[in-house]
Every structure is written in structure tokens, then in C-alpha cells.
Amino acid sequence: MAPTLYMIPPSPPVRSVLMTAKALGLTLNEKIINFPAGEHLQPEYLKLNPQHTVPTLVDDDGFAVWDSNAINPYLIGKYAKDDSLYPQDLQKRAIVDQRLHFNGSVAFGAVAGIVRCILYEGKTCLDDNDKTRVEQVYAFLEAFLDDGKPWMAGDCLTVADYNLYATVSAGDVLVPIDGQKYPKVATWFDKVGNLPEAEATKKGLAIFESLISSKLQ
């Protein structure tokens, strides 16, 4: 039986799981959670995930895990043919882990904070503070790419690229990546976006774009 993914298509972390699953050739049973109806706060969902977020993965043995930065390494560990997406080598893995924590706290923190204000607090335009927050993320990523390596965590494509791509693609909707200021980020972004597995994120990204543009003036 395919693992189940509780999700909503436009969510960046959800899209990173879809991307990872596609890269692994893994079929997921997608179940949409109806947030406006409070489905995420129902006892059945809270039992799976007391943090009531998406994505939440329930594997075919009933094991439940949430947070895309924990889900994706788990899926890779369990279903990948090799360790390239999440290397066993300690040094390489430490870099990927740092990128994942940067993704979850700094990058997603910036994007989600702004999106929350737009969707739930009536924000209709981005102010200088918002733009600075997102640009700071781009500036750090530009610095991470400064070693001239092709991918976010070094020589090889890893889950760090997937997770950061999902977050940055949402950031790019809010504050487009300035290719003059952040050339390495812009190149990396296009490269990851052209991977076959990125296709799995496009539908959700289009919904996200449409949601945001409908609220901004």
C-alpha cells in the first residue's frame, strides 16, 4: 500500500515532499486536508500530528511523521536506491542538515510569516520589511553557493535542493529573485526548476501564485 500524504497542493513543504517522492519513483496516496473546515484540528488528525500542520506522512505500516525536513530524509532512507539525495558521509550530511534547518527556520519562517499576513490578516501589499526579510534569505543562499559548487549542499543534488527550492519558489512569488543581485541563486533556481521531479510542484505553485495575487493589490 502506498504511503499516505496529508497535504494541500500550494504548501511549499508539501511540494518538497511531492518532488522527493517523484525523484524516488514513489507513489503517494494524497489526501487533502480541509483547513477552512478545521479538519486539521479534528481528533483523528491530531492523533497523527499534534502540531496539526501539513505535510504529514503516514507510512504503510502506520508510522506517522510530519515536517517536510524530517519526512524527506525518512523517505529517502527508506525508498531510495542509493544515498545520493541524503549522503551517509558525515561531512556531506552535516551540510545538508544545516541547509534543511536553514530552510525550516530562516527561509520558511520568512515566507510563511508574510503569507500568513496576506491570507489571514488582510495584508494587501508587501512593505520594505517583508522585502528585506526575503532578500536576506536570498543573500544567505547566494553566500552558500559562493563556493562555486553546482548544488545547494555541494557537488551533488540533495534533498536540501528540493526543500529549499520549494520554499524559494514561494518566496519568488512574493519577492522575485533579482538575478543581478543574486546570480548564483537565480541560476540554481532555474536549474532545479528544470529537473523532471520539479514537475510535481508546478500545479501547487500555480495555485499558490493565484491565491497570493488574488489578495495583493
Binding site: 530524509p73 532512507g77 558525515l90 552535516a94 542538515d97 534547518h101 544567505f140
Partner: protein, 215 residues
Amino acid sequence: MAPVLYMQDVSPPVRSVLLTAEALGLKLEKKVVDLSKKEHLTDNFLKLNPQHTIPTLDDNGTVVWDSHAINEYLVEKYGKNDSLYPKDLAKRAVVNQRLHFDSGVIFSWLRYIVRSYKYKGRKELTEDQIEHLEESYSLLESFLKGHQWVAGDSVTIADFSLVTNITSLTLLYPVNPEKYPNIINWIKRAEGLPYYKVHLEGLQSFKKMFQEMLK
């Protein structure tokens, strides 16, 4: 040569690395990077860590930053067994989720609150901050339901990260023992660990720093 830890003991993430090292019986060479003197923004430090944060580890040329990545690395490299960061995929996934809860939720709020006091001169928490802290404490309380430690029944690096942040946060916004008995009992359990004392001096520094900011 002992791994070098760039640190300042006032920082809760730094203290989680001190706990991990102590639990592993690993000696670290500590090099203080004074954030108030902007020592994290020197060219040399930026070369090491372009995110210019502490803790940063230099293990004989292997540079790692972000306390969560550092702690995972230290256990894998120096641990006699995997109990602090289990190799079992499912157990590890739970620890990883707790570590991301620590970085994405708990430490994000702590950093945001400390910055608003330090750089915006605030002397009290906003309603929004209180609401988020209550939600964070409530989530942690639920993670601890029926378990001794945050990721199950054995202590892991997730406990080290969360206990250093929560014991610092509780100085700003106390954990209500009636609402959150699991958290209170878990802190007491952590205090009973033989190596727990290694984070207490830094916790005092944090308390002092916070009291200075309130003046």
C-alpha cells in the same frame, strides 16, 4: 586535535552542543565569538560560516554550523552507540521532527523576542508573542504526553536542543506548572542528567543579559 567550537555560552543552541559533547565524553576546544563585539562578522569567521551564527564547529577541517547539524554530526562521529540519535529510520524521523520544531518554532520565537528587546527596546512581551509561546508550550506538552523524553523514552539530542531553549525561554515567559506539568517534569528529569550542569553557567549569563535588557 579536539574539535573547535566557536561559541558564546549565553546562546542556548551553543549550550545544546556543550550538553551533547559532555554526554559523549568529548572534549571541545572552546573559542569565544563575542556577538556584541560583532566578532561573528569578521572576514575570517564569515569564511568559516557565511551565515555568521554560533555555534560553529571546526572538527579538524570539517566545518559544521547550526547546533542541530553539529549535534547529529558529533553523535554519529563520536558516539559509542546511537542512542542520542537513533539510526532506526522511524525513530530518527521523530527526533528530526523535534529538532525542526526546535529550530523552526521554539528558537525562532526566542530569537525574535530577544531581538525585539535588544534592538527595539521592548520591555515586555506583545500579545502575539505570548499567544505563540503558549501554543509552543502546548505543543511541547503534547509531545511529552506518555513519554519521558521529547522523542520517546530515551534521551536524545532533541532533548538537549529543546531543554536549553525552553529553560532560557521560561526566564522570559514562565512555563505554567499547572498547564504544562509534562514540561516541568521533563525539565526536572533533564536536571538529573549527570552532565546537565555544563549548561548552567551559560543559562545564568542569559538570565543576566535579559535582566540588563529590562533596565
